[in-house]
């Protein structure tokens, strides 16, 4: 019977409406039973031509669009774009504004990592950590709402500063939240990060060596998980990060090989701790003063190109803008971490189980709108 039994590779379409593709991403997977032979990511379902829209709106008017590039870390996107424009027009940013930017940026980094961690846990079947982490994120949303009135797409950071000053009791609120959150995060680690089933699922899965990570242009936590200590906040310092004391956590092969899914997951958990450290320092160091530098309402930069790289939660986000003495950019290009991470999935997903593919997507922290722009 063995020879007459016909077997064939089964092609399954995963997405774009699949529950665990984190937005609208499609994977065409060719499987032999449960084992994936080939996985072809199909991106572009969330393409909104944000880069083209930039050519039609004013310099300041593009800030809300950067919110939509990465809705989980809108502050960091705002910040990166505004820094690029500031670099181009040579605007000064007041010191208080820099600290406010660091604080909102780190708060948003925490909230983005919470989603990354929680969504990974949920993809692996643990629903409770996700909801518990969403609750913590809700407090962060409240804090950001206090600062700027919005909870998801902030449009808070402006060219030359921030749009509004923060409320007077904001720092106490953040301090109170951090006291609560440090304990809550430890609790979450006990619930999911140190869970044996979870570790068995994540350890030694889709190991990315440092060379492969660099070859695939991995950035941010994905790169650091492979053992490469590279963080733009330290290596190409911007804003007031040089004054702050924090560590860059890297993957150490905590439960398996260096650069496996667990490392990618756990680096984010450790980065949250570092962000808490940064926040505590920044809250102490934040001076009084202006929150908005002197920038003309109608910006018309000289012709030229500016490229700014910022460390957002999904890694090195680059904004390349080219100006030609107009009130809107001549060309704008956004470089994001999700896109390059996505490119590695065909290689990482070879010979793994379908359930593992979900874990790999989760650990790479791919966010669909950032992927397609």
């Amino acid at each position: 019977m063995g020879k007459s039994l016909k077997t064939e590779i089964m092609t399954i379409n995963m997405g774009p409406q699949h529950p665990s593709t984190h937005g609208v991403i499609r994977f065409i997977i060719k499987t032999d039973g449960e084992i994936i032979h080939e996985c072809i990511p199909d991106v572009g379902y969330l393409h909104r031509s944000i880069e083209k829209i930039a050519e039609a709106v004013s310099w300041q008017g593009f800030v809300p669009y950067t919110d939509r590039v990465d809705y989980l870390a809108a502050m960091n996107a705002n910040w990166a774009y505004c820094t690029a424009v500031e670099k181009m027009i040579g605007a000064e940013v007041p010191r208080r504004a820099e600290f406010i930017r660091v604080i909102v940026g780190e708060l948003n980094r925490i909230s983005s990592h919470l989603i990354a961690i929680g969504a990974t846990a949920m993809d692996l079947g643990a629903f409770t950590p996700f909801i518990q982490l969403l609750r913590e994120r809700e407090y962060i949303n409240d804090l950001l709402e206090m600062a700027c009135g919005a909870r998801l797409t902030y449009n808070y950071i402006s060219i030359g500063g921030v749009n509004w000053d923060v409320p007077p009791n904001w720092t106490e609120k953040i301090g109170e939240f951090l006291d609560h959150f440090e304990l809550a995060m430890e609790q979450m680690n006990r619930l999911i990060s140190y869970n044996r089933i979870f570790i068995n699922r994540m350890a030694n899965l889709a190991t990315v060596s440092a060379e492969t990570a660099i070859d695939y242009c991995f950035v941010g936590p994905n790169l650091r998980a492979s053992g490469v200590k590279y963080d733009l906040r330290k290596d190409i310092p911007y804003s007031v990060y040089p004054e702050l004391d924090f560590e860059i956590p890297v993957g150490e092969g905590r439960e398996g090989a260096v650069g496996d899914c667990y490392d990618r997951y756990y680096v984010r958990a450790m980065e949250i701790r570092e962000s808490i450290k940064i926040l505590r320092q920044a809250l102490k160091m934040m001076p009084e003063g202006e929150f908005q530098g002197k920038v003309k309402n109608n910006i018309k930069p000289e012709a030229g190109v500016a490229y700014v790289r910022h460390e957002t939660p999904r890694g090195d986000t680059g904004y390349l803008i080219q100006a030609d003495q107009k009130t809107s950019p001549y060309r704008l290009k956004i470089r994001t971490g999700s896109f390059t991470a996505m490119a590695a999935i065909p290689e990482l997903a070879q010979g793994v189980f379908i359930a593992d593919l979900v874990a790999i997507i989760g650990s790479l922290d791919v966010v669909a709108p950032e992927l397609d722009r």
């Binding site: 949920m122 079947g125 007077p168 109170e176 006291d179 609790q187 379908i354 359930a355």
Partner: protein, 417 residues
């Protein structure tokens, strides 16, 4: 009794027996339906509590009629059969699943050991075999749906349930050896009302058997961490992806009813069933109450697993059964035999061992509760408090908080007085 009274009225005995069986089946099926509905609300509320949510709270008092609303909604939905589906199998699958679960209620006790719908002398064997009928339903559903995700779910279900049948049956062996019978009523009566008389605490091997049975049962009832068949983040909804309306309701009903089967069997065979202390022996309903409490506790433990643990991967799940649970089940079996030989003559030794087991369990339980309290305290750290709202206003002199000072003064006066 009912049969006798009917035959005395001139009804043929076969007809009377059929009527009796029909009545019992009617009661069982209705119990299954109502229980499955209610437990779905309970589960959602338990899950909500664990996740800092509210849960269903709109339909009926505190949301306790949510299951009726869900049921009505599902019945009113269109019954969709996908194109290319095997219509006969597609329609039969939910029924087979529900029948498999409902049929196991025949040998479940309902409190007093003799209150069993059909006290078969091979009750446990019957239960193990009839609950395996569920897998056929799932496999049929997965195959007939003409959907690749469903097919994967069905394949997983077949592998999973066949694998876990073995440790479940082996885990029951220590209890069967202690009672010396396969009939559920004998298994219950072999125990006593006190925890140290329960099979689970009889000796370490029986405890091991109980834990294996519980783990395996979770796997057999397709609940997290073994819910690979419907892993919603991997297989969309697994075998039930293409089902809608009442057929989907049948699957859900089967799953929720299965929790009762697992809980009732655990309670009856390992946790003393409905046996009550002699003082309560004549109190009506005491046995039923004790039994239902134990069962619901076990059901709660299942929910607890479900909302705490992540999911296994298919190969890890198989490894877990064949490499760990089966050897442990064999250990429990042989250990129990050797324990029997060692303590056959000495009732004192048996009593000491079982009392020690209970003590150890209480110790573990105490440590566990302590951990829960620590976590609870962590959760209770205040965020967004009133103090941070008012502190800066007081500092800048915009408001004066008079009331708390007076309250403090009052309390100090009272203390002095």
């Amino acid at each position: 009794m009912l049969i006798e009274s009917m035959t005395s009225l001139g009804v043929p005995e076969l007809v009377a027996q059929l009527i009796y069986a029909g009545l019992v089946a009617f009661m069982c099926i209705n119990f299954v339906a109502v229980y499955a509905g209610l437990i779905s609300v309970v589960e959602r509320r338990v899950a909500a509590k664990m996740q800092s949510r509210v849960g269903p709270n709109r339909v009926g008092p505190n949301g306790w009629l949510q299951w009726l609303a869900d049921g009505v909604k599902l019945i009113l939905k269109e019954d969709l059969i996908p194109a290319g589906a095997d219509r006969l199998l597609f329609k039969a699958a939910p029924m087979i699943m529900a029948v498999g679960v409902a049929a196991s209620f025949a040998v479940l006790p309902w409190g007093p050991a003799h209150a069993i719908a059909a006290d078969l002398n091979v009750g446990i064997l019957y239960l193990i075999s009839i609950s395996a009928l569920v897998v056929i339903g799932i496999l049929m559903a997965g195959w007939a749906s003409n959907n690749k995700w469903s097919l994967l779910g069905g394949m997983r279900a077949a592998a999973q349930i066949v694998t876990y049948e073995v440790p479940v049956a082996m885990g029951l062996l220590p209890a069967i050896m202690i009672a010396g019978s396969l009939a559920v009523s004998d298994l219950v009566n072999a125990q006593g009302w006190a925890p140290w008389d329960w099979v689970a605490f009889d000796n370490p091997f029986a405890m091991l058997g109980f834990l294996l049975f519980l783990t395996g049962s979770v796997a057999e009832s397709n609940r997290t961490p073994f819910d690979l068949t419907e892993a919603e983040s991997e297989l969309v909804a697994g075998y039930s992806t293409e089902y809608s309306g009442f057929r989907f309701a049948m699957f859900t009903l089967g799953e929720f009813a299965n929790t009762w089967v697992v809980g009732a069997i655990s309670a009856a065979i390992f946790l003393g069933g409905g046996l009550v202390p002699p003082i309560l022996a004549n109190v009506p309903g005491a046995a039923v109450g004790v039994f239902i409490l134990k069962t619901l506790f076990m059901v709660f433990v299942l929910m607890w697993f479900r909302w705490t643990l992540p999911r296994f991967r298919i190969d890890q799940m198989m490894d877990f059964s064949w490499k760990y649970m089966l050897p442990l089940a064999l250990l429990a079996f042989f250990g129990q035999s050797i324990y029997f030989l060692a303590t056959w003559d000495s009732l004192v030794a048996q009593s000491v061992v079982s009392h020690l087991m209970v003590l150890i369990f209480l110790g573990v339980f105490f440590v566990f509760i302590n951990r829960v309290l620590i976590n609870y305290r962590h959760q209770a750290t205040v965020v967004n408090s009133y103090k941070t709202e008012t502190d800066y206003l007081v500092k800048t002199g915009k408001i004066v908080l008079a009331a708390p000072k007076e309250a403090a003064a009052d309390s100090s006066e009272q203390e002095e007085g």
